[in-house]
C-alpha cells in the first residue's frame, strides 16, 4: 500500500518535473480570472482586441464590476467614442482595439453567465491559485528549477526504495523493507516540494512523508536501544 501510495505521488512529481515549463509559461487570462474568484461567483474574460459587440440590455443584469485587467498594450479610450463600449457597473467605458484583457465579475449569485460575443465563460470552481511566479517574474525560473530538481530527487529516491524493497529475499528482506521506509517517505516529501510551487495545497502531500520519516527514526532508535542492551 505504501509503495502504491507513494508511486502515485511520485508519478505526479515526475510529471511536474518534466513539465516545469508550465511554471515558465506566460500568465493567461484564466489565471487572472481565477485569482478573483475567491470573492466572486462568476466571471468572464474579455479579449479586448476582439470585442466587437457590447452586452445586450437583457444581459446586463446584476452588478458587474471590473475586477482585474491586464493591459499588455494599453490603449484605453475614454468616454463612449470608442467603437467597442461596454458597461462596467453603471459607468460607460470603452476599450480601443488593443491587446487588453479585462475581467468582469458579476456578484449576483443567480446570474450564471452572460453570452457576450467573444467571451470565454469561466467556472468559478477551482483553479483559484495563481502561481507565485506569475507575480514575481524573476522567481519563475527559480521555481521551475526547484520543481524539476525536487521532482527528479523524488523519483530517484522512489527508485532506490523500490530497489531496497524488492531486490532481496528471506529474513534480510524485512530489514531492507524497513530501511526503505525512509526513501519512500523522503520521495513523498520531495514530490510535495516539487508540486508546491503550483499550489500550496500540494504541501499537504508532505504530511504522510514527514510522518514516515519520523516513524522510521523513532523505530530505528528503539531497535538501537534494544540491541545495545544485548551487545553491551
Amino acid at each position: 500500500m505504501f509503495i502504491l501510495a507513494t508511486a502515485g505521488v511520485v508519478a505526479v512529481a515526475l510529471h511536474t518535473a518534466t513539465s516545469a515549463h508550465v511554471l515558465l509559461a506566460a500568465p493567461t487570462a484564466q489565471h487572472y480570472t481565477a485569482a478573483i474568484q475567491a470573492t466572486a461567483n462568476r466571471s468572464e474574460v474579455y479579449h479586448g482586441s476582439t470585442i466587437a459587440k457590447r452586452p445586450a440590455a437583457e444581459n446586463r443584469e446584476g452588478n458587474w464590476t471590473e475586477a482585474a485587467s491586464r493591459t499588455a498594450t494599453v490603449d484605453i479610450c475614454s468616454g463612449g467614442a470608442a467603437p467597442w463600449p461596454f458597461y462596467n457597473d453603471t459607468a460607460k467605458k470603452a476599450l480601443c482595439r488593443a491587446n487588453v484583457t479585462v475581467v468582469l465579475v458579476n456578484v449576483n449569485y443567480d446570474v450564471r453567465y452572460v453570452n457576450y460575443s467573444n467571451t470565454i465563460p469561466q467556472s468559478a470552481d477551482g483553479r483559484g491559485y495563481v502561481p507565485l511566479g506569475n507575480y514575481v517574474p524573476g522567481l519563475r525560473w527559480v521555481l521551475a528549477l526547484w520543481s524539476a530538481a525536487s521532482g527528479m530527487a523524488g523519483v530517484a529516491l522512489y527508485i532506490y526504495a523500490v530497489y531496497l524493497s524488492l531486490a532481496c529475499g528471506g529474513a534480510l528482506c524485512k530489514w531492507r523493507r524497513f530501511k526503505a521506509i525512509l526513501p519512500f517517505s523522503a520521495a513523498t516529501v520531495a514530490a510535495s516540494a516539487s508540486l508546491a510551487p503550483l499550489s500550496p495545497l500540494y504541501a499537504a502531500l508532505a504530511v504522510p512523508g514527514v510522518w514516515g520519516v519520523w516513524h522510521y527514526y523513532r523505530a530505528r532508535r528503539r531497535l538501537a536501544v534494544w540491541l545495545s542492551t544485548i551487545l553491551t
Binding site: G170, A171, K174, K179, A219, W226, L227, I230, L231
Partner: protein, 78 residues
C-alpha cells in the same frame, strides 16, 4: 570495536537466520570491507551471538533468539 552500526549487525544476524554460511558468503552479504567485516565477526563472537565451526559461521542459541526477536520487531513495524 568502540562503535558498531545497527545496520550491519542486523544484516549479519538476519542473514545467519536463514542458516549457517561460509565466511566469504557472509562477508559478501554484509557489504563491508574485509577487515571491517572481521571486526564485526569478532565482536559478535565475543558476545556469544555467533560461532565459527567447520568452516561456516552460524548463530548460537542466544544469537538465534536475538535474530528471531529482531525479525518479530520488524514484522510489527512493517
Amino acid at each position: 570495536m568502540a562503535k558498531y552500526d545497527l545496520d550491519v549487525i542486523a544484516r549479519i544476524l538476519l542473514a545467519l537466520l536463514q542458516g549457517p554460511m561460509g565466511r566469504t558468503q557472509l562477508y559478501m552479504r554484509t557489504r563491508l570491507n574485509y577487515p571491517r567485516f572481521l571486526e564485526y565477526l569478532e565482536f559478535l563472537k565475543q558476545r556469544e551471538l555467533v560461532v565459527e565451526r567447520d568452516g561456516s559461521v552460524r548463530l548460537t542459541e542466544r544469537g538465534h533468539e536475538v535474530a528471531k526477536a529482531l525479525e518479530r520487531a520488524l514484522d510489527e513495524l512493517l
